[in-house]
Amino acid sequence: MNYWKAVFAIAKKDVISELRNREIISSVLLFAVLTLIIFHFAFTADQKTILSLAPGMLWVAFAFSGVLSINRAFISEKEDNCMEGLLASPVSRDAIFLGKAIGSIVFMLIIEIVVFPVFTLLYNVSVINPIVILVTLLATIGFVSIGILFSALAVNTRAREMVLPILFLPTVVPLIIAAVSATSVILDGGKFSDITQYMLIIVAFDIIFVTVPFILFRYIVEE
């Protein structure tokens, strides 16, 4: 089996089994929407304030529902003892990492596809903009990649679900800062050239935190 075929087979397996039982995605989506609704009760604000808060609200929703979804990436494998099977198969460890990451990126994209229109609908503020979507897509890559590494680590500790957020959230601070700032600038009517520095941070984060987990993943799933 060639390398990329294996990668996509793993990603496809995750997506298909998820689509079949909708175990994670339905609750994660509901959670993401609930976050947006809680914001309404937390800050009763006028249109103008909402516009300035929008990027932050979006990323809080993405970050927390992302943690929830990425956390599940290895828990299901662990519970049904599938991890051993996966490790025993003639697939390299970094192919497993890429497959898992691509699968989780798909889930993350589904969350984003739902959150964007729901936010626009609920708050009557349009956040759908090609550049904002590009920023979100780019940020998702690094976000999920480092998340998958930590998720594999977390599932092998006693505290499991507790571990991912305390490690993951401080690590992705740069992505959240850059994505939120870039989105703010664009929603304020800025042009693409106004956000180059934030884009550079996001791209640098993506490159670094796809490469590093790619190398380190094999040290987590050793046994």
């Binding site: 680590l153 500790t157 305390i166 490690l167 601070v173 703010s184």
Partner: protein, 225 residues
């Protein structure tokens, strides 16, 4: 106490006294901030030291993953511990400095914020280690967090600096340091460096003793069976 620890203790004590004399007696009072500026001579070396500690954790994390010798994780873990202590001191002295100068204990200034994020990452390092029962796995996962955490620090600092902020930037000396002030700073850095090695020896010996105890206990259990 081992000999090298005693030597490190002696050297640090002498260097600290020299540095303190420089800071409080020899060094002139800075013009705009007054005496409070003397915090600078320890605040900055402590910050450098924390960064250096995490760098050592990063390097020995890689060495551990390559060699699988527990000794290297002991060095990495001890260094992270020192780093966390120093990072805590950066935050505390930073706050004490911020209060009289900026009027508040905390401001989301770029450097304070980066230090806070760094502190949180290494706090997570220790919390997560405590959640792992198997020794070997503890070393392995510790190394991984140490590597990722250190790579993250410069990106965090860079992104925080770029974010739009209404707060003042850390304003130390625009025209650079000179003469006595620079000398005092360098001496303080050297003193903090000596303190780093003192703590490294202390923590490392402590860790090897703990390892030895665990090993002997295991052996006793086996013999009793």
């Amino acid at each position: 106490m081992r000999r090298r620890t005693l030597i490190a203790f002696g050297i640090s004590a002498v260097m600290i006294i020299v540095a303190l004399v420089m800071v409080f007696i020899v060094c002139p009072t800075e013009a705009t901030m007054g005496n409070i500026q003397r915090i600078f001579y320890f605040h900055v070396p402590v910050a450098w030291n924390a960064f250096f500690s995490f760098f050592v954790t990063f390097v020995f994390g890689i060495v551990y993953l390559k060699t699988r010798n527990p000794k290297y994780d002991f060095i990495a873990e001890s260094s992270a511990k020192i780093g966390l202590v120093f990072a805590t001191l950066i935050l505390l002295t930073g706050m004490i400095w911020a209060k009289p100068i900026w009027g508040v204990w905390w401001t989301w200034d770029a450097r304070l914020t980066s230090s806070l994020v760094m502190w949180l990452i290494y706090l997570a390092y220790f919390i997560i280690r405590s959640y792992i029962s198997e020794e070997e796995k503890k070393y392995r996962f510790g190394s991984i967090i140490g590597i990722v955490g250190f790579i993250d620090i410069p990106i965090v600092a860079l992104s925080i600096q770029l974010a739009p902020t209404t707060h003042p930037k850390a304003m130390i000396f625009n025209d650079g340091l000179h003469g006595t002030m620079l000398l005092t700073l360098l001496l303080s850095i050297a003193a903090m460096f000596a303190v780093y090695f003192l703590f490294m020896f202390l923590y490392y010996d402590l860790r090897t003793d703990e390892y030895e105890i665990a090993r002997m206990k295991k052996r006793l259990l086996k013999e009793n069976d």
